[in-house]
């Protein structure tokens, strides 16, 4: 069952600008969906249509089974929104703001305050409930905003850049909170430019560009797809070059370098013998000992066994590994790749 479904959803503004172009999107109930896209890609317009702030030009969108155009008030009751800009009244306290929102959603009077208190406990803002919103820190404001957005127990919660400008600790607290809310049954739609955040939290990611959905998968699925497509691109390029003349040797080398994956290890007992062993390993193309003691390697990224074999070599020569990392394609790479492809198509 889908919490949100759009079919050919389109929004053309008065100045003939098509902000959303026949968007088809399905967000499963109970999932955390990450909505990515460059600025001006149509994310905000999509959210505005889904939250019934503007009318679609054509197409259809349903939220929790209700049509946004036919039953806007039912849709509004199902939705909670934590906007990027904290939009609570600065002069009112956290409690007063939450009460105001509860009354605007028609929360029954007898359970209003207890519901708010429970939510405050959940997000850990109860200690500041009688503080004015204007006096809160950034993280506290977001928490207050969350409480106000959850008072009517929405099935679906929109979070627009909820952690922007927050310190790493507060960010993590909010991430935990988002997961907890999801466990409690809220479907969450997270708009963010923080790729790490999306990668960590989301079940599914949709990338929107120029009003269209250009990629939709799990975060890992998207990254794997990019790795595959990179490999393919490189293989194609290499075979093309080898067909050509001999002088492009240097160019070929450059491209081969691109096909290498970075790997970095830190050994407890580093000595020349171990380094020698590593550099003779089949999969290792280059070895460099950095000033901080890390051994930075470039290994063949086409070979799935490369990491395993290098580690085996180190261990068999007596090396004790204290730290290791390899560089994988990030969601950011996926983002840049999928949004630039369309841009190039557009220009063509």
């Amino acid at each position: 069952m889908n919490a949100i479904e759009t079919k050919n959803l389109t929004k053309v503004y008065n100045n003939n600008f098509t902000a959303v172009n026949s968007l088809n999107l399905e967000i499963p109930k109970g999932s955390i969906f990450g909505m990515l896209g460059p600025n001006g890609a149509g994310k905000t317009t999509t959210i505005k249509m889904l939250t019934c702030l503007i009318q679609p030009t054509s197409g259809k969108a349903t939220v929790g089974g209700y049509d946004v155009q036919k039953n806007p008030d039912d849709v509004r009751n199902l939705l909670g929104m934590v906007p990027q800009q904290v939009s609570l009244y600065k002069d009112l306290t956290v409690m007063e703001n939450s009460q105001l929102c509860a009354d605007y959603y028609g929360v029954p009077q007898d359970e209003r305050d207890s519901r708010i208190e429970d939510l405050m406990e959940l997000v850990d803002i109860k200690y500041a409930k009688d503080k004015r919103v204007g006096q809160l820190s950034g993280g506290q404001k977001q928490k207050a905003s969350l409480v106000a957005s959850l008072v009517h127990r929405p099935d679906i919660l929109f979070l627009d850049e909820p952690t922007i400008g927050l310190d790493p600790t507060t960010k993590r607290t909010l991430w935990d909170l988002i997961r907890e809310l999801n466990d409690n049954g809220h479907t969450i739609i997270l708009c963010s430019h923080d790729m790490h955040e999306v990668d960590m939290l989301c079940d599914n990611v949709g990338i929107i560009n120029t009003g269209n959905l250009v990629a939709y998968d799990t975060p890992q699925g998207l990254k794997d797809a990019l790795l595959e497509s990179n490999k393919q691109d490189l293989t194609d390029a290499l075979s093309k070059i080898s067909d050509e003349s001999e002088d492009s040797d240097s160019k070929k080398e450059d491209l081969e370098n691109l096909s290498l994956k970075k790997m970095s290890v830190l050994l407890k007992n580093q000595d020349d013998e171990i380094i020698e062993t590593i550099s003779q390993s089949d999969h290792v193309k280059s070895v460099e000992v950095a000033r901080n003691g890390r051994i930075n390697l470039r290994i063949d990224s086409f070979d799935d066994m490369a990491v395993q074999n290098v580690l085996n070599d180190i261990i068999s020569s007596g090396g004790i590994i204290t730290s290791i990392f390899t560089e994988e394609p990030s969601l950011e790479d996926v983002f840049i790749k999928s949004t630039s492809e369309v841009n190039e198509d557009d220009r063509a």
Binding site: L53, P72, D73, M81, D91, Y105, G106
Partner: protein, 384 residues
């Protein structure tokens, strides 16, 4: 559907904000007082104590009488009585005094010859010179009647020399003019205050609506309200209710201050004045909503509302009667709601009319109000 709880929240929110920002409260209270003081004292006051010198080259009973009369007139502040004509002129030229009243050497001589009193005046100060001319004429007219002898006053302009002096020959009592003031003795301040009240309400309603609607659109509070299952008219209705309440308090302060400071009489009674102001406030709140329906920021709103509020201030007969304006402005005045508010306010405060007497003004104001609200709510954009 009217949702009283949502209405009440908007009022409560405004009141809490005011309570927590005492400075804002002070400015709400101070604004009408400043307006009344500024316009009341600045423009409505009468000119008194204008500095002059008297050049007296004669002496005798008539001279003494004349000097006493001049000194006891409120319009003048006699800096000094001197006998040098040149010094007198010099003092006017230097700007130290506004005029010199020059009594000639033959002033006290008992003769049938016409006596020429000269008013040497600084005509660059138009307001002061007009008042000095007319009151000097008045004085010598009275004196000449008293002594029943021929005295003439000529005015000499200090800045156009040699002066064209026009003789102000005294009239004989052939024609007597009886002035029958149907509404009593009305001073300019009395004329001004009712319209100042209207204008202040207009300005604060229009400015205030921009702050609440365009401002909250800009900062996103309005978006939050619009995401709840609440109709546009309920959201706006709440804003109006809150704004109106504050404006009513302001209107009360305004009326109170006008009475206290300028002893303005409210002939038609306090309640009727208040009701007219409430209708006016509603109308301008509606105007504000219409203008802010599609403005995205407070800054935009300020830019958009200025071309409406400024002309309205000057064309709606606040400071001058509409009839004295060029015809095009007169026509323009008829499409400005402030004109009708001013007319109704003057009717009630000055003429002692009743709401029934100014019904036409009220109907027009209410008509504008309904029109503004319909356009405002229709045009209002939920998109924030």
């Amino acid at each position: 559907m009217i949702e009283p709880k949502k209405f009440w929240w908007m009022i409560k929110k405004e009141l809490i904000s005011l309570k927590r920002h005492p400075a804002r409260l002070v400015s709400i209270l101070a604004f009408p007082i400043i307006m009344i003081l500024l316009f009341g004292y600045g423009m409505g006051g009468e000119m008194t104590d204008l500095p002059i010198v008297v050049v007296s080259q004669s002496d005798g009973d008539l001279t003494d009488l004349t000097l006493d009369t001049i000194k006891s007139t409120e319009t003048y502040h006699v800096v000094e009585v001197i006998d040098s004509l040149d010094e007198g002129k010099e003092r006017v030229d230097s700007g130290e005094v506004k005029a010199a009243i020059i009594l000639p050497s033959d002033y006290d001589k008992d003769s049938n010859q016409q006596k020429g009193v000269t008013l040497y005046i600084d005509s660059s100060d138009q307001m002061a010179s007009q008042i000095l001319e007319s009151s000097t004429q008045g004085i010598f007219y009275r004196i000449s009647n008293m002594v029943a002898s021929q005295t003439s006053v000529s005015t000499q302009d200090a800045h156009i020399k040699p002066s064209i002096s026009h003789s102000l020959n005294n009239f004989k009592d052939d024609i007597s003019l009886h002035i029958n003031r149907i509404y009593g003795n009305i001073k300019y301040i009395d004329f001004l205050v009712p319209a100042i009240l209207g204008m202040t309400i207009m300005m604060s309603c229009m400015m205030g609506m921009g702050a609440t609607i365009a401002g909250e659109r800009e900062t996103g509070e309005l978006a939050r309200l619009f995401m709840t299952p609440t109709s546009v008219s309920t959201v706006i209705g709440g804003k109006i209710a809150a704004k109106l309440l504050i404006e009513l308090v302001r209107a009360l302060i305004l009326i109170f201050m006008a009475v206290l400071l300028f002893n303005v009489s409210i002939k038609g009674g306090f309640l009727q004045t208040f009701i007219v102001l409430v209708i006016g406030a509603l109308c301008f709140v509606g105007f504000g909503i219409m203008l802010s329906a599609r403005t995205q920021t407070q800054e935009d709103y300020a830019q958009i509302s200025l071309p409406f509020s400024m002309p309205m201030m000057f064309v709606s007969g606040v400071f001058y009667p509409i009839e004295t304006m060029p015809w095009i402005l007169q026509k323009l005045a008829y499409v400005f709601p402030l004109t009708y508010l001013n007319d109704a306010m003057r009717g009630i405060m000055l003429k002692g009319q009743t709401l029934g007497d100014v019904w036409l003004d009220l109907v027009v104001l209410l008509g504008f109000t309904v029109l503004f609200f319909i356009i405002g709510v229709k045009r209002f954009n939920r998109d924030v």
